[in-house]
Symmetry: C5
Subunit: 373 residues, 5 copies
């Protein structure tokens, strides 16, 4: 059955595997720690923290791997645009290094390290923090990954913090490398927009998968409402609840960025942000619509199963209602009383069978008349 949409859903089909995006991902698990203390909250998803740097302006692009935050310090004031991409969050001292060298507030570092954050945007004097959730769908494995991406926008650099390697930013990197589109001609704020746009665009890819699943489920219910559709719809609905949780705050994030009066965001980029904002609205509306549809499917499936059950029960009812009285009559003449005069009558047997036939026929007529079938 070709339904390799995501691990959770696959679980619903292939067996009783535990759902894979646990509810706990909704929570930041830092209870009891001093606020501002730097601890990585989340799973360690990568061996070594990698720092990838792309430095570009209108005319040239330079790419390199940096070893440490101090390696990147030169870009802090360079006139070219620098995108420092940090992959892996467990290296607390590296994050702290960026904090010290690039002047980030301890609460910012804490937010970056705590992967249970709610998407948000926060403006500071010299930089802007954007936190969002990247939902990626890996074609080969059919798995959905949820990853927190934190973006720091400062006048001459952009730092992104990701939980692991592999992201949805390759098209952006390609456009920078090949100078396609307007990305090379515009500022850091446009880079941030491009990254957010890539994140939002990937929501569409995911929703596309969900939409296909919904259609498959609907078609199957119309054809043959098998019980396992229940599990699959439930899992899909639950998945949509989690997606909504991740996507809904993006509306606020993009709306805030657009209205931001900060000098970090130019008016020109604002136009593009409005576009991304509208896409987010569309994503949210689609998630809501899909949610309604999934709920509708559950009701529909249940009703369809009930309808089929009723069909089955009707058959039982009709067969039983006809034959139980007939069997009783046969039972009567199966009794061994010595004084049952009818038993000796020659035409008794055909008469009884005839009466049975008439009774059965009458009941069938009555059933038909009452539209039992």
């Amino acid at each position: 059955m070709p339904f390799p949409f995501n691990p959770v859903i696959r679980a619903g089909i292939h067996g009783k595997v535990k759902a894979m995006i646990p509810f706990k991902r909704l929570l930041s698990g830092k209870a009891g720690l001093s606020p501002g203390s730097l601890v990585h909250v989340g799973d360690r998803k990568v061996d070594r923290v990698r720092i990838h740097v792309i430095d570009y302006d209108k005319d040239s692009v330079k790419e390199r791997e940096a070893e440490s935050p101090s390696d990147c310090e030169e870009y802090k004031t360079s006139r070219s645009i620098t995108w420092i991409d940090v992959k892996g969050l467990h290296g607390v001292e590296i994050i702290q290094g960026f904090g010290e060298r690039f002047g980030l507030h301890p609460l910012v570092l804490e937010d970056i390290l705590n992967t249970g954050q709610r998407p948000k945007t926060e403006e500071f004097e010299k930089y802007l923090l954007v936190i969002c959730k990247m939902l990626s769908y890996e074609q080969e494995t059919g798995e959905v990954g949820m990853e927190q991406v934190s973006i720091v926008l400062a006048p001459s650099f952009v730092i992104t913090f990701q939980e692991k390697e592999g992201d949805v930013f390759d098209p952006v990197r390609d456009r920078i490398r090949k100078g396609r589109g307007r990305i090379r001609k515009m500022g850091e704020d446009y880079l941030v927009y491009a990254l957010l746009d890539a994140v939002v665009d990937n929501y569409f890819v995911l929703l596309d998968k969900v939409g296909t699943s919904l259609e498959d489920l609907e078609e199957e219910i119309m054809g043959n409402p098998r019980p396992d559709i229940l599990d699959r719809t439930h899992v899909l609905k639950r998945e949509l609840i989690l997606m909504r949780r991740s996507i809904w705050p993006m509306r606020e994030v993009l709306s805030n960025l657009q209205r931001e009066e900060s000098s970090l965001m130019t008016e020109h980029t604002g136009l593009f942000l409005r576009d991304a904002y509208e896409h987010t609205i569309q994503v949210i509306e689609t998630v809501e619509t899909f949610n309604d549809m999934a709920s509708g499917l559950m009701d529909y499936h249940m009703s369809a199963v009930n309808n089929r059950m009723n069909e089955v029960m009707k058959v039982l009812t009709i067969v039983a209602t006809i034959f139980i009285p007939l069997t009783f009559i046969a039972g009567i003449y199966g009794m061994n009383f010595e004084h049952m005069p009818e038993l000796a009558w020659a035409w008794a047997y055909p008469a009884v069978v005839g009466v049975m036939g008439v009774l059965a026929g009458g009941m069938i007529v009555w059933f038909k008349h009452n539209r039992f079938f």
Copy 2:
């Protein structure tokens, strides 16, 4: 069964055909492309892009087919009102041609080409963009078509971009040609209003069909709650969800146009826009009401089916409950024990039959007393 309302619904009746307005139409499928890149997103619905031009003023009307955007450039500054109607979106270079010659922003062109847009209105310095969804109902085929219409309003021309030929604008064209109503005496903004009004009016036609379907379904449920009503109601409800998605943002579109302080919209036309806005409110309220009703019908149907099932089960219960004990008694005297003194008694047989009769009668009385039937 005369239920040729639309392909989806027909599917629900005639068989297990796949629903025809796929969920994907809710999404704009451009993930990974550079923003502003011109690609047609959607199905190619027409062979050749046709450009139809109506140029009119109070006294005269001229109609012609243009070959290319450059063909239309003369109208850009003419004092008469020009409606350039472009049918077919896959000719990207043609759209681009209009963009260059008429000074449209790349994002506008992108929006026009991406048929997964959400209805919206956007004001630019020299023109106004309105995007809406045309839902048309074709009488002959009984099909519902969803088509994106983009309208560009500039001081001396109006350009409309449609996905294919065939639209709901013929009454508007007729009024222009024949000089009926006030359309020829008023400006470009009134033309835009007339087009939007035609779009909104067609929603009423569609809702009328839906309303009739709802009434038919209700009547059938009251008469004979057949299981296939479930499928049809589900499909109708799903259709209403999609309609809501298309129509709801029209409220905002018309409200924005009305409040627009742009010099492109005259106060006089504002009065008419308020009228169209009120119609949209009415459409939306009707869609919501129909939605409530469809939900109510699903519950009602399910309850009615259950009620009927209960009737059926009651018959089984009564018949079985009466005859099972009687058959047991008959079974007792069908046993072949040698020492069953009753078997030899002369009055045993009538006595047993009498007891059975009394038992059956008692049960019937008890059932009646407990209002089992």
Copy 3:
């Protein structure tokens, strides 16, 4: 069964008659016409358009039937208060006559003629238009009528347009004729208030009927949840949906009138309008409450039916579960094998019957212990 509340509900009781307030009444059916074109949309409910005029001031009342709009022109500027009541809308030329002679905008005339309007209030330079829905309950026939009433308020006259004769305004006419209350001492705006108040008051009459129906249904469900209660509750709920549609916008209408800064509405009348506004709020809240209650009743009924069904099924289960094994035992000893030593034993028959009794008793004890009954 005394349930003559309204035709629709009667239908639900007396048979499978089609509901009588069709869904289409929710729609204005004018698609494709030029805006501002005067066409009567709705059913022709009266043979001849009648124009009734009441002209009154503090001291005197004059009543007459006018033949045509020109007949009424004298009242346009008279110092007394004039209420021109037009009954019947199909006489388009008459409506047009009023439009011309009393200076009404074409869109106003169009709104008056289109009986599918949403209740609203619109202010023009010299007059005020109020459109509302009159729901009247005719005691004799038990029918509910929905009728559109358009009210034009100008400095020295009030024109009302109704679809047919027979309305809820008789108490207002009586008060004018007999000089009761303060109506004769106050201006045109108070007359409009009095008319709207009469409309709102009639909603209470209707809700009273609905409330009684709800109570009857509830009582019946508590007593004997018969299946036909489903149909009646469904029809009542559907009726409430339609009432809500008509009544809800009245809130806005009265709120607008109250806040209207027009010189047409005096502050004194404003106090009364606030009163009517509060009544409307009360009506709306009651409709919502009734709606909740009707939904609650449907659930309650379904649950009650299920509960009863379960009772019935339990009887079947217990009888069948007890007798099926017993019948099997009887069947064993009804077999005709030659070598069944038990058959010859003298105490076999009483022993088998005894075992059957113990088995039945044990099952009853087990059922009781598990609280099956």
Copy 4:
């Protein structure tokens, strides 16, 4: 069964008694009367209208029964604080007397007399009108009474209009008489606050009863989900709907009083009003929570009943499924064919019984394996 909570609920338990707070109490039944006409709308609940006067200041308290409104006129301008408590509304002339002597607007008198009012506060030039619903729970009879209380606050007196004797104000009277708390030291506005606070406090008493009922119901469902719980929960839920209707507008009433810029309300009392407002919020939230819980209980009960039913059905299924085939086998060998060679075989009987045992055992194993029980 100790469930004497209120007449309606008792009805649900003790039999099929009609609910006692009829839906009509939600409506003001004055359709067709001239606005401002003084008619008592409601049931006559008391024989004679009683006027109780408490006149107090910091140092002294005087109490008396007044015979007529004119009897109270002296307090209109006295410097002490006077609380005139009118019990009984059917004496229209008495209410009118107060209206004339204390200068109350006819609409105010109308509101006081119409007991179907929605709680509200209205400010006039010289006085303030507050209307609220007193829900009282009488310990002895277990009945809930809904009574409208109208409070008129003027600079030197407070008049309260109640439908009948017996109210929740005794603690306030006691505090005045005994000089407890700060009531004697403060003004008329504090008296109004104290009265409203007493009304709100009584909601808590009622909610406490409802809460206890909900807990009892929940406990019973967990223990033994009997069908009559359905009726009781339904009645409780319906009761909560009516309570919500009465209590919800109190929020607005207290919020308005607090924000009132009238000189009638001192800032000091405002602090206490804020407290009462917060209590109302708490009451409303509790009503909503209880409503959610009652809905939850209905679902829970239905599910629990279904679960039990399923248990019962499973027993039937298992017994029937095992014994029906066995009975068939017995039936085979009960046939009277002359040529059935098996019948003569010596080991046939034990063999058949053995086969039956194996069959039954196999089915039990299969049932266990499929987790049927």
Copy 5:
């Protein structure tokens, strides 16, 4: 079964124990008392009221137990920061002592003593009152405790009032004692923030438990939808309703504190409060999501149980439908009529058995064809 989450839930598993957080905790039970009268409302949870004092500044920490409010008076004006932690509320005279000595308004004292308060913040001239609900989860006993914490913030001291010993503030005390984090370097307002942050952090701990329970329930439903899951899910849902009631107003509390223009809250602490506010939003969203999920689980469970029931019923139907007619045929030839010619035919027995086989086979084929199994 490892489900020791909390007493209520344990009840749902281990038996029919009464839920332990009674609904009454939602209510303040002070009806009939004079406002401002000091009475402890709630259970007496501790023997002796203990007063713990921590006095600290940047350089030093002093801790002691105070005997009475007068003991603490010295800290009222000391320049160091003092946290006076009062554990136990039944010592009304002690609370009153604090009120007198520290100048607290009687309504504040009343709020502190009434443990049925709604979380809120109230600003007075010289101090700020914050009331919140501490939900603590005790690892050993698996119990959830709800406790009201009132915090008074004044320029040089913070007083906290708790119902009993044992709280979630130990990490804060530790940080003060060991000088970890910035708490020692900052003012009283930061201490209040730290306390609120500790309260909010504990909500996460609780939600984590709820999330785990939800996942366990989901997994069990997927595996084997046992009926007792219903009770457990119901209890979990009810628990979430109560948690929502306690947590929801915290949003307002933190939002108010943040916006407070009081000089008591410094701008620096505002940044941290924003952080705590965001955590609260996250908690609330999670509670809502969990609520949705619990509702979903109830539906899912019910559907799953129904599905299984249908499976069971199908088996019955198929077995009964096949064997009832066969048994009837056997019954026919078990009749004892003398004139049944078939009985003598040699091939009659095998023929009848053959017919039975064909019949059974036919029915199985028909069932398969109709997808009954």
